[in-house]
Each structure stands twice: as C-alpha cells, then as structure tokens.
Amino acid sequence: MTTISIQEQTTRVREQASARRRKADVTSERHGAWWRLLVILIVTAFVLIPIAAVIWLSFQPGQGSAQTGVTVENFIVLAQQTSALTWLGNSLITTLITVLISVLVAAPAGYVLSRGRNRLVSGYSLLLFVIQSMPIAIAVIPLFILFANLGLVDNLVGVTIVFVGSTMSVAIWMMAAYFDSIPIALEEAAWIDGASVFGGFMRIVLRNSLPGILSTAIFAFLLAWNDYLIALVFLRSDDNFTLPVGLQSFFQQNAANWGLVMAIAVVMMIPPVAVFAVLNKYFSVGGIGGSLAGR
C-alpha cells in the first residue's frame, strides 16, 4: 500500500459492504441509516460554512455598488483594478516549476532509495525523514540572509528554489514508496534483454509509475500553491506577490470590501479543488503520511 487514496478506500469499503450485505440481514445493515444521514448532513453543513461563505460573499455586490442580488461584479473589478491576475500568474509559474523540478529530481533519487538498500542509502533515507520534520522557519532565516547577498530576495526564482527545497525530502520518500510496489522482476527482464540500468528505469519503472508521479506532483503542487511563510519572508513588492501573500495584503488594506477579498479567495481555491476533483484517486494524505504505511 503506497498511497492511501480515496478511491482505494472507497472501493475497499464498498467491496466489504457488499460482501457483508450478502451475508448479513439487510434490515440490520440499514437500521438507523436515516438517523446517520441526518447526523452526517448536520456535521457536513457546519464544516462547510467557512467555504460556502467565501463563495457566497464573492457573488455579493461590493461596497458602494448599485448592484443587488447575485453579481459577478467583484470578478470584473478584480480583473480590471487589482493585481490579482498578476499574483495568479506568479503563483502558477512558481508552483508549476516547483512541481516539475521536484518530480524530476525525486523520481531517480526515490528509485535508488527503493532498490539500493545498503547502509549509505538507509542513512540518506533517515536523513530525509528527519529533514521533513524540521520547521521551515529554521531553513528560511539562513536562506534569507544567503539570498539577500545573491539578489534572490523579492524574486520569484528565489521563492521557487526554496519551494523545491521544502518539497524535496517528502517527494523522494513518496517516489520510493511507490517504486517499492513495482516488482524488480520487470527490470531484471529488461536487463537480461540488454537494457542499461538507466534504460530500465526510464522504459520500465517510470512508465509504470504514473500514479506515484501524480501523487508526488499533487503533494508538491499543494505545498507550493498554499505556502504562506516562504512567500511572506522572501517577497516584498506587489508585482512579485504570489496569491497567498497577495490576498493577505489586499485583505489588510481593504478589510471592509469582503466581496472583492472573497473573489480573490475563490480564484485561489479553484486550482487545488479542481486538481482534487479530477485526480482525487491519486491524492495522498499529508504526503508522507500515505508513504509511511508502506515502508
């Protein structure tokens, strides 16, 4: 079991439920189902209030607006009068580059962690495990001083580099956990046919690792997209903000204009929710959480 996906969990529960239904008395199985539905409805409604509030407010008329009822006015103002689209662009580019580099670097390293189990490799694995538990704050302070000397403060390149650093340890673990589930016999067959180690990795292992690659990519995506601390420390000027710091600074300056603030919040939550909606079967909890079960 490499990653705990909803899909996996769902199908498993469903299989067991259907097996149980065949055996057990149907009335006892469904006994109280409507009460449970009521409970879960109330809980879900309460849990979703803050998210529903964001969406609802974003469609309400802004301050001093002539509009009433539901309106998309806020989104028009957002596009024309705020820097939100610049922030969106900054967030997209830093996040996508982080995802790309993380996967490219973590996949081969994870392969070594998975296949080569000697003392050096186990040491590296433990080191990565310890690194993922360290506060980002301790990395941010020295890197800020270093990057200030290199001109990488208030610079999207600098932020991307720190993002990559903060994804690295977990991304390698996640890739290694996935490769563990691929039988080594597949590569051995390729080697006997004359493939090199590199060739076997590219043509056999990677080709069968799409779920693992996607899980790792989603992890890196969420980490970079949701990051607040790194962007807060490294970015100074409005033009360079990513969405989280942009939204926060806009909120501090326009606290009363909830419609517009929430419109930016909606723009910010669309990509992760869309990724989740499309790829939820590759979604693993807390990155390393899912990998731990298998290693």
């Binding site: 705990i4 909803i6 996996e8 969990q9 498993r12 529960v13 067991q16 149980r20 189902a33 449970r36 539905l37 879960i40 849990v47 209030i49 803050p50 998210i51 509030a53 670097v105 390293a109 296949r115 080569g116 189990r117 000697n118 590296y124 080191l127 495990f129 310890v130 538990s133 360290m134 506060p135 980002i136 301790i138 302070i141 020295p142 890197l143 001083i145 580099i161 990559v164 650093g165 690295m168 051995e188 080697w191 090199s196 180690v197 969420l222 949701n226 607040y228 601390l229 969405l243 989280p244 939204l247 603030v261 919040a265 910010m268 939550m269 929710v273 989740f276 909890v285 807390g286 959480g289």
Partner: protein
Amino acid sequence: MSSASVSDGLARARQGRNPAGRGPVRTPRNRPRNRQLVWTLVFFIAPSLILVALLNLYPVAYALLQSFQNGSLIAAGDFIGLNNYISVLTDPVFWRAAAFTLTFTIVGVFGSWSVGLALSLLLRTWIPGRNVFRVLLLLPWIVPTVVSATSWNWLVATPQSPVPVIFHALGLGEPLFLADPFLAQVTVCVFKVWISFPFMMMMMGAALASVDVNVYEAAKVDGAGPWQTFRLITMPLVRRSTFISWILMTIFCVNDFPTIFLLTQGGPANATQSLVVMAYRTVFADFRVGPGTAIAFLLTVVLVIVSVVLYRQIRKSGVE
C-alpha cells in the same frame, strides 16, 4: 552474462549485502558493468543530494552558527557563546510560547483525531450518498489556509461578525473571539482542528478499511456491545495507524505557522504566540537574528528527536 551480474548486484543490494558480491569492497574496480551500475545510481541520487545539502542542511548548520552570534539580517556578528540561549530561556515570553505550542499541539492532535475517527467510523456504515460526504468533508484540508483563515476572520473577528451576532442573539454575550486572550486561544485551536480532521479521517478510514468485517460479526455473535467492540477490536487493529498519525500531526502542529499567524499574528498580548511564530517575529519584526535562530534551533532538536522515535517505531513494526 554481464547483464545478469547487474541484476545480481541489485538483488544483493536490496538485501543489504555488498552489490559486488563477496568481500568488504564497496566499489568494484575491475567489473565494467558494476561500475556502470554504481555510476548510474550516483548520477540518479546526486541532484537530490546537492539540493538537500544546499537547501536543507546548509541552513540548519548556518542557523546553529547564527544562534551563537549577535549578527543581523545583513551583517555577520561576533561569537557570543551561549548568550542567545540564556536570554531566550530566561525570557518568560519564550515559556509562554512553549506552553501555548504544547496546548495547540495537544488539542490539534487529539481534537482532529477524535473527530476524524468518529467520522470515519460513521462513514463505514451504510448511509445514502456516503461517498459524496466523504469527498465534501475533505475540503478543509484542500482549501488553502490563507483562504479559510480569511473566511474565519469574516465569521468571528469583530462584534458585527456573524458568529458573535448569533451568540448575542442567543443571550451568550458578545464574545470577542480574537481579542480576548483565552477565546483567541480557543478559536485558533478550533480552527486547527477544522483544518486537520480530514487528514485523520483519511488515515483512520484507510486503517479501518483494511480490518476484516468478519471480526465484527464474530464479536456480535459473542454478544459484545458497541463500546466493547470499539475498545477491544477496533482500537487494537488501528493502533499502528493511530500512532503514526499522532506523531505526524504533532510535527504538523508544532511547525504550523499560517494557521496561527493569519488569525491572530500571535496576539492578543502574545496569548496565541507559538514558538514558530515567536521565532519568525523575533527575526523578521524585531531583527534579533541570534535569539530567533536559537528558538528555531531548540524547536528543531525536539522535532528531530520526535521524528527519530517515529522512524524507529515504523522500522520495528514494519518487520512484524
């Protein structure tokens, strides 16, 4: 023949033996295929090693150095021995932050675990539209913290916000959720539980899904009640997942910056200041780099110990 030796080498390496075969020699010198293997693996791991060394190890080493100096963000300082640590450890604000970090972590871990476990147990039973709820309840974990913090601000921050207005209408006074020190602590902790319970729900849900249903039916036949079933059957079967998720959530809570900072900035009167928030404010608001890195370093030492305990536990139970 030569390609078979590569696979032999890898197979041996997997078992923790010397890939080159007999003897203690680690790098085989006279076998071209093995040399190719070693170089390929070095080439595979090198980029990650460089990044980890530069972006993870160098900062920790530099922070350790800084914590013994009186430098600033732009200039290196002089070596001042343990003075930073002494000034931090004798500062009551530090101990208050440590106490709040502990409260925040305990409430965060056990709050999210109980809610997550309860919901995963509920969603195991037959409920119409169960899978829809399973997906909807994960949203707090997926929505960016900045977005949910903004929304929580709207819900609770001022006396005119919806939640205080509802409390007032119910005759419960006009609570200032972010201005009263105790209520601010409660609000921040509840916010953390709201963000984190989906993680626990997924971890525990996956653990429960791997439990054989027949065990429960056997227990039912033997006349076990719901509480007995939970305590004597469910808990022992999900113990490993529970342990892993507790430790991971402890690490997440202790390291958490945005959840606290976005709601309260550590206020009012430092009531919700955790150690990470304090380290950030000491360095980037007060520009006292030495004490700030000292706090961050103390925190790191504690977390490294916690993660090594977890790692050993996983390795041990993995063998069973």
